[in-house]
Each structure stands twice: as C-alpha cells, then as structure tokens.
C-alpha cells in the first residue's frame, strides 16, 4: 500500500485507479446504452438541442427483438457455444497431458520442445489461415462447425500446454513421489493427485481457451459462409454491417448478448482463476 499523507494515496493510488476503471468500463457502458437507445436518438446530430450522448429517456428493446427476429442470432449463439466448448475440451485434454509430460517426464529435449510449442502459438493466424483453408477444403470440412473445432486447437493447444506446464512445475514433485511410494502407478498418481491439485490451473486454461475461441474472428470468417453456420462475431459483423451502413443498435445488442456467456463463465470461476494464474499449491 501507499504510505504517508492522504494526498499521496489519492495521487498515486485512488485517482489512477479511477481513471483506469473508467477507461476499462466505458466501452461496455457505451455498448449497453446503445443497445437500449431508440434509433431516433442514435442518429441524432451532435449539435441538436436535445442531444444526450450518455443517457436515454426512452429505453427500448427493439434492437434485441430485431436481432432475434430478423437475423439468425440465436443460431449463431448455439454455433459459437458448441464450437467453443468442444475445441476447449479437446485443447484442455491435450494441453494437460502435454503439459504434464513436459513438466515431469525427463525425456531428452523436453525443455526446448516446450519453447518450440510456445513459438507455434506465436505464429500469426493471419498467416496460418491460408494453408489451413487448403487443408479444410481437402477434407471437405468447409462451412461446418468442424472446420473451426479442428483448427482452433492449433493455437489453443500450445497455449494450454504452456500454461499447464508452468502450473505442473509449481506442484511439489514430492506429492507425486509420495503417491508412487504409496502404491500408485505414474498414471494413477497423475489422475488422483496431480490433476486434482491442478484444477485451478486447468480452469484458468479452460476459461482463457473458451474466451479465445468464443471471440475468434478470422478463421470463422474464412471457413464459414452460409448464414446459419456462422459464429456470433462473424454473424454480427457480416449481417449487420451492410456496405457502409452500420446498424448500431442491433450491432451493440449482438455484442452485449455475445459477451454475456463469457462474463458468466468468468464470474463463476473467478477465485479459481486468480489462484490458477498466481499458481499456489500448498503442501
């Protein structure tokens, strides 16, 4: 904490914090207020007499109605949910096993392999989607959820592996040795002792992987084409921006509703999530 006079606390702690919170939350506030504004207010010129940028006196749900009645939004939500869940599960499964192996099994080049895996995570998707599109076409997976479920792990698995590797390394190896003396094989020691201890780490990896695939844009844009296959980020931007016309109300409503599942996931696991990232297992 900041010590000394009260003004020091304000200058170095409270005021910066307030500024930070405002900068962070303002886009969300703008998103919410735009969602509930009638079109008449949204497109009112800034120098009009009754221009009111930060508040509305006539809240409406017409944009949300529009979203569900005039677009495939419900379908996009289901698509996104399914794709994000399955690709997260696949990536977690592989990431936990690979992370454990890299952290605990002393095989040659384990250290450099870990680095190489992380480097693959750094290859930009804007480069990778070109060869991947070729592969998706060869396997005739284009325009199906599987085109994303199988390509998202290309960046999710390296990420999960890296995060889990660090987490497994932080778990005292005596726990596992003790389990092995107690009569457990390496596999059982992993299943009964190490993985339960790593739950916070697994949850953090899962939450981040889920968010990454939920928000993913470029693969979804390239691999999916028919309107009822799209995910929320692609659906909203492709159907609600027509030419240079932005349907701000439904766009913001889509963004708001699309971020709710992620917010729910975070709020459920926030404690585990924090301890997962700070990495604390006490023996």
């Amino acid at each position: 904490m900041i010590e000394g006079a009260a003004w020091r606390k304000w200058v170095f702690y409270n005021i910066p914090l307030i500024i930070f919170v405002i900068v962070l939350l303002f886009p969300f506030y703008w998103m919410i207020i735009t969602t509930f504004r009638p079109d008449g207010e949204l497109y009112r010129p800034w120098n009009a007499r009754n221009y009111m940028p930060f508040w509305t006196n006539h809240p409406t749900i017409e944009h949300i109605q529009y979203l569900f009645e005039e677009t495939n939004f419900g379908r996009w939500m289901l698509n996104t949910m399914f794709i994000a869940l399955v690709s997260t599960l696949i990536s977690l499964f592989c990431g936990v096993l690979a992370g454990y192996a890299l952290a605990r099994l002393n095989f040659p080049f384990a250290g450099s392999l870990g680095t190489v895996i992380f480097i693959t995570y750094l290859v930009p998707q804007t480069l990778l989607f070109i060869p991947l599109a070729q592969i998706i076409r060869n396997f005739e997976l284009g325009d199906t959820p599987w085109s994303l479920i199988l390509t998202y792990p290309t960046f999710l698995i390296p990420f999960c592996t890296w995060l889990m590797m660090g987490y497994f390394k932080a778990i005292p190896k005596e726990l596992e040795e003790c389990a092995r003396i107690d009569g457990a094989s390496r596999w059982k020691a992993m299943v009964y002792i190490i993985i339960p201890c790593a739950v916070p780490g697994i949850l953090s990896a899962g939450i981040i992987a889920f968010t990454l695939s939920w928000n993913e844009f470029i693969y979804a844009l390239v691999f999916l084409s028919s309107p009822d296959q799209k995910t929320v980020p692609v659906g909203v931007t492709s159907e609600l921006i027509r030419g240079d016309v932005f349907f701000w109300g439904p766009l913001m409503a889509g963004a708001l509703l699309g971020s709710i599942p992620v917010a729910i996931v975070y709020s459920f696991f926030v404690e585990h999530y924090v301890s997962g990232l700070t990495g604390s297992v006490k023996g």
Binding site: P172, E177, C178, R180, D182, G183, V199, K282, G283
Partner: protein, 363 residues
C-alpha cells in the same frame, strides 16, 4: 521386517558423481541415520533405496530381493518427506487411506488401520480436516501416520523435522524414537543435524562428497572418529584442531606447534612414533579441556588467551587463542573468567586425537 543392503552403489547425474561406491548393511529393526553436510549424497542414497532415483551401478537389496529395477510401489517401503507432501485436496483420513486404497485393502481394514495410526499419533480429532488447516507439528504427524498405516517393511525419512521450529523438533525427535521402539521397523533417516543423528540413530553413517566416511554407533563416532571430517562433524561445539609436527624428544613423541607442546603417551604415543617428524593434526574436544590445576602434568598444559566468553548456564565456553590456533574450551559454570584473561588450560591425554595431515585419517 527386512534388512536393507547396499553394495557398491553409485549414482551419477551426467558428469556429477554424487554417490560413490556406497557399501552398507542396515540390520532388521535398526534405526540407521545418514548424516552429512548438504550435497553429500545422503538424500540421493535414500531416494535410490526408495526407487525414486535410478542406480547408476551397484545393487540394493531389501530383504532378500534385489530391488534395482523394482518400482517404488512394489518395494514395501514408506517415506516421510521434508515438506510432508500431504495431498492438499484430501482430508487427513483420505490422506491416510490413499496408500491402502491403492493397494485394494478392504474398507473395514482401512478404517481400523486409520483408527490405530490416529490413536498412536494422537490425531483422532483431525481426521476430517484438510492439510492446510493443520499446524506444522500436526502435518508432521499426519505424514508419519500415512507411513504407519501401510505397515511397511522399511521406513524412510528425508529430513522430516527440519521444517519445524526448534522446540517442536526436540519434542518430535523424542516421539520418533518412541515410535520406533514401539513399531520396531527398519528405519533409514536422513538429516544434516548431527544432534538428531546422535540421539535417534542405533547406528549413524557420516557421508561427505558421496563417500561414506564412517558407519558406527553414535558414541563410537564420537569417541573414535575415523578421520578429521567425522571428528569435526560430530559433536557440538566442534572438536578443536591444531596443525602440529610430531617430534621425538628424549625418547618421547611430542606434538608441537606454536605455543603448544603436548607429550603423547600410551597407545597414541606408539602410533604417533611411526609418523615421527611428520605433519599431523591434533584434535581435542572442548569438553576434554579444563583450566589447569595442580594434578595436571606440565606436558599436557598450555597457555591460552581468552577472546570471547560464552555463558551457557550449564557450562562456559571459552573461545581462546593458543599459538596460531583457536580453541574452544568447555569449563565449569562456576569459574570466573573474563575476555582477554590469560590462563593455563590442560587436556585429558587419553582423549587426544591425531589425524594424518595428508590423508586426514585417524592415526
């Protein structure tokens, strides 16, 4: 019940040769302590017995079986770790039960064993708690309990008391000793604390740089150390050393250094005669020194100038300069001595030790 024997056991980590040709016979029901400074290979040796480290060469037997290739789970051992290694997501009862469940014991048998172990260690009231809610001493007990319930052939302890505070350590040391008497199971105990080693061990192995320096009963190590390292490591405060020359004078062997001229007689004198006119190290324990009185022969006395006086209540430690060496003497608490005093110290000739200057082996 089982003996443990190590035959020419070696361990190399790449170019690092950490355990060298260790030969040991640990008898059935014996409490064997491995002691040495950190990095001496004692923990590695224990881990090889446990099966947690592969052996580079040599044989380890538990009972009649060579266990070199046997996985830890099949060696019938239990180990207590320095950090206790309690499973943090399980209650105390589940921690105790884990090893039994893995070995597919009957549920009723598991319960009765947990109950028995909990009674022995006085942790009956803690069974439903999670390890993070326990104090250091309680965790230590649970870790012991987890070893006891299994009823193994050999107990392995890897510095189990070093995470406890000083008072609790002494208390747990006594309990460990009692527990061993009660259970009578072959135990191997690793520590860097020579007091623990002396008080707990039926026999003690002193290691340094991966080599066994001496193996014997605690008093044997204390009274007849095999070399200078053992002499300095065992005993607190440590033995005093002085570099001396063995000279023959008037038919007697005399250990000479600046400010010091000690006549050697008896067996030690005879052995020293063989090394006459050579360099050696003279060793004498602080408790074998006293302020010279009328009964002390002049050839066993020397001048000392006191630098620091440490009042311990039960004794007084004098850090004093003798010639070029520093000697610590333990004297009667009733003596009045002050820093910078000069006085005459005498030693007990039968308690003298001599070590070869080159090999450091006892003469």
């Amino acid at each position: 019940m089982a003996e443990v024997s190590l035959h020419k056991v070696n361990k190399k980590f790449d170019a690092n040769h950490v355990v060298k040709d260790v030969d040991l016979e640990i008898r059935d029901k014996e409490f064997m302590v491995f002691v040495g400074p950190s990095g001496c290979g004692k923990t590695t040796t224990l881990r090889m017995i446990a099966g947690l480290e592969a052996i580079t060469s040599g044989d380890i037997r538990i009972g009649d079986t060579v266990v070199n290739e046997v996985p830890p789970m099949d060696r019938d051992i239990a180990m207590v770790f320095q950090n206790y290694a309690l499973y943090p997501h399980m209650s105390v009862a589940s921690n105790l039960a884990f090893g039994l469940k893995m070995r597919k014991f009957e549920k009723s048998e598991i319960e009765s064993r947990i109950k028995r172990a909990a009674t022995i260690l006085g942790i009956e009231t803690l069974l439903e708690r999670k390890p993070r809610l326990l104090s250091g001493g309680q965790r230590q007990r649970v870790a012991l309990g987890r070893a006891i319930v299994r009823d193994p052939a050999v107990f392995l302890f890897d510095e189990p008391l070093s995470n406890l505070d000083a008072k609790l350590r002494v208390q747990m040391r006594v309990e460990l000793k009692k527990l061993h008497e009660r259970l009578a199971v072959t135990s191997i105990y690793v520590t860097h604390d020579q007091v623990e080693a002396m008080t707990l061990g039926d026999r003690v192995v002193v290691m340094k740089d991966g080599v066994v320096q001496q193996c014997g009963e605690p008093l044997e190590l204390y009274n007849t150390p095999a070399n200078r390292f053992v002499a300095g490591f065992i005993g607190s405060p440590a033995m005093n050393f002085a570099d001396v020359t063995l000279a023959e004078k008037n038919g007697r062997v005399v250990a000479e250094a600046q400010g010091l001229s000690i006549g050697l007689s008896g067996e030690l004198g005879a052995r020293a005669r063989a090394k006459a006119n050579r360099q050696a190290t003279l060793g004498i324990r602080p408790e074998d020194l006293h302020v010279a009185g009328a009964g002390d022969a002049p050839e066993h006395c020397f001048e000392a100038s006191v630098e620091v006086v440490e009042q311990l209540g039960s004794e007084i430690l004098l850090d004093s300069r003798v010639g070029t060496s520093l000697f610590v003497a333990s004297i009667e608490p009733t003596m009045r001595v002050r820093a910078h005093d000069k006085l005459k110290l005498a030693l007990k000739p039968e308690r003298l030790h001599l070590f070869d200057a080159e090999t450091e082996a006892a003469i």
